[in-house]
């Protein structure tokens, strides 16, 4: 572990600074009280399968992505003491182009911004996220890479496979988000409550699977959760 930390110190990646106690308190208030109440009472989001014994330490959360509420709702199920160590991964080209968006993503959502289209002399985003995991941070990833078509899931990009295969000990927790796209669809600014479900699956641990296998297995896991939810309520 010490060795790993050292190698990170020598690299030239700029990782987010450790959070002050003010920032920690603010994140706990925002996600464990404010957003938890809004999502639970006003929006009517049902939390299913959320366990309190999520493995302690770095974790990769992955979910399907249709709405800006996705990252927020996932932050509310992160254990309290890991909130400031959990970073959503957001797109530089969308969130980085206005000061307000960039500031609120980095400070209120605890996100890190990576570029989807890489120039010649940019840092490899995978290297950057790899450094975060090595430094003991958790990640919230949306492997589809974009919010896509409302209510449907696209194919996963291979980023999650790369990260999980480099860190065999770090569990991947699949989360299926159902119906949040109705509350805050792409291109709208106003939240209209329509309910929804957040379903947390069993942690997946990979040992020697390759990148493509991990990518397709995680995608399968979330597709299965979606299918199960639909089947459980069919006449």
């Amino acid at each position: 572990m010490k060795k790993m930390l050292k190698s990170y110190e020598h690299s030239d990646l700029s990782l987010p600074a450790p959070a002050s106690w003010r920032r920690r308190a603010m994140l706990v208030f925002l996600y464990k009280f404010f957003w938890r109440a809004i999502l639970g009472v006003v929006i009517g989001l049902r939390y299913l399968g959320v366990k309190s014994n999520v493995p302690d330490g770095p974790v990769i959360y992955i979910a399907n992505h249709n709405s800006h509420l996705d990252a927020i709702s996932m932050m509310t199920v992160v254990p309290r003491h890991r909130l400031h160590l959990t970073h959503s991964v957001a797109a530089q080209d969308f969130f980085g182009n206005s000061f307000f968006r960039k500031w609120s993503m980095e400070n209120l959502v605890n996100a890190v911004l990576i570029s989807r289209k890489r120039g010649a002399n940019d840092v490899d985003p995978i290297e950057f996220l790899d450094g975060l995991l090595r430094a003991g941070r958790s990640l919230i990833l949306f492997p589809e890479g974009t919010r896509g078509v409302p209510g449907s899931m696209g194919d996963f990009k291979r980023g999650v496979g790369h990260l999980a295969s480099r860190h065999p000990g770090i569990p991947v927790i699949p989360i299926y988000l159902d119906g949040l796209y109705r509350n805050l669809p792409k291109g709208r600014a106003m939240i209209v409550p329509f309910g929804g479900n957040l379903i947390m699956g069993e942690p997946m641990v990979f040992s020697d699977e390759d990148v493509d296998q991990i990518t397709s297995q995680t995608q399968k896991a979330i597709e299965n959760m979606a299918q199960q939810l639909r089947d459980s309520n069919r006449i």
Binding site: G44, P185, R188, V192, F194, G195, G196, N233, I235
Partner: protein
């Protein structure tokens, strides 16, 4: 009628109905526990889950009813809101209807506010008269007419079904004093909750034990003639037995119980029909073993307005 616990401030009638509810809950919890131990089956586990949910629901109903009229009102308001919020995602609304949904949500506090401040005439007219015209106009004013007949019918219907009906329970608190009647609006509210809750339970029980002939085979195959008739007759008797919670005499209580049971059954059947058309079993997952708010409260919201108007006609007219 004597108080069970003389020190407590609440009236004797309320103490007795809480005692009766507790007895039923304890008895059924024990019964299903023993059934599950003797003959473990899917039905036994389902009954256990359902009874556990009934405990939570009864606790919520009783506490919100007795704490303060304002708390009762806020509780009912939240139920109306939750019902609307559960219905809309099932309807495949488009972007034009999205904004109208916000207006529909906004009618909830207005309607309950009218009940709380005792503006009865406006309360009775607000949704069926004013919103009945305003909401279709809001849909038309966007200029997109494709599929508009559907949304013009759906939106006012959702308000009448889930807001207008339920809000009559808040109006019970505006009824004037009735000489010799001490249970008050809290008693009337618990009376209705008890009747409709028992109606669902007893129709289920009679149907499971004796049921053979389905009453609405294409809508809800589990509802049988035996369950319906057994349920309605038992509720009529229970309504007479429990009339100490109301200012009604025997015949009025029997008629109120009869109408409440029939209305509860109709509300249930309407919701079943809607869910079958959409192709889902339950409208949500809020209450374990029961489904969503809509699955549980369909009977309540259909029975609430008829109940209020019967009480008003018999005693305050």
């Amino acid at each position: 009628m004597n108080k069970l616990i003389p020190m407590w401030g609440m009236s004797a009638e309320i103490q007795w109905v809480i005692f009766i509810i507790l007895c039923i809950l304890v008895a059924s919890s024990v019964a299903w526990f023993i059934l599950g131990k003797l003959k473990p089956s899917k039905l036994a586990t389902e009954l256990q889950v359902r009874t556990r949910s009934w405990w939570v629901m009864c606790a919520c109903f009783i506490v919100t009813t007795l704490v303060h009229p304002l708390v009762t009102l806020l509780g009912l308001m939240y139920l109306s809101y939750a019902l609307l919020r559960e219905m809309y995602p099932l309807l495949n609304l488009d972007a034009r209807e999205r904004n109208t949904v916000l207006v529909c949500y906004a009618t909830v506090p207005i309607q309950y506010g009218l009940a709380y401040f005792g503006m009865e005439t406006l309360f009775l007219a607000f949704i069926p008269v004013f919103m009945f015209v305003f909401i279709p106009f809001l849909l038309v004013v966007r200029g997109e007419t494709k599929g508009i007949v559907r949304s013009i019918s759906l939106m006012p219907y959702s308000l009448i079904a889930w807001v207008y009906g339920m809000s009559h329970l808040a109006l019970l608190f505006q009824l004037p004093e009735y000489p010799g009647f001490t249970a008050g609006p809290e008693g009337l509210l618990l009376y209705l909750i008890f009747l409709v809750g028992m109606n669902d339970v007893l129709q289920f029980a009679w149907g499971k034990t004796l049921g053979k002939r389905p009453v609405l085979p294409t809508v809800s195959p589990n509802k049988t003639w035996e369950g319906l008739i057994g349920g309605v007759l038992s509720i009529t008797l229970i309504a007479v037995a429990m009339r100490f919670l109301t200012p009604l005499n025997i015949w009025q209580a029997a008629l109120t119980g009869f109408v409440t049971a029939i209305a509860g059954f109709m509300g249930d059947a309407i919701a079943s029909g809607m869910k079958r058309d959409i192709g889902i079993k339950n409208s949500g997952h809020a209450i374990p073993g029961h489904g969503g708010y809509l699955d549980r409260l369909d009977g309540f919201s259909a029975a609430a307005a008829p109940f209020f108007h019967l009480i008003f006609f018999f005693c305050y007219h």
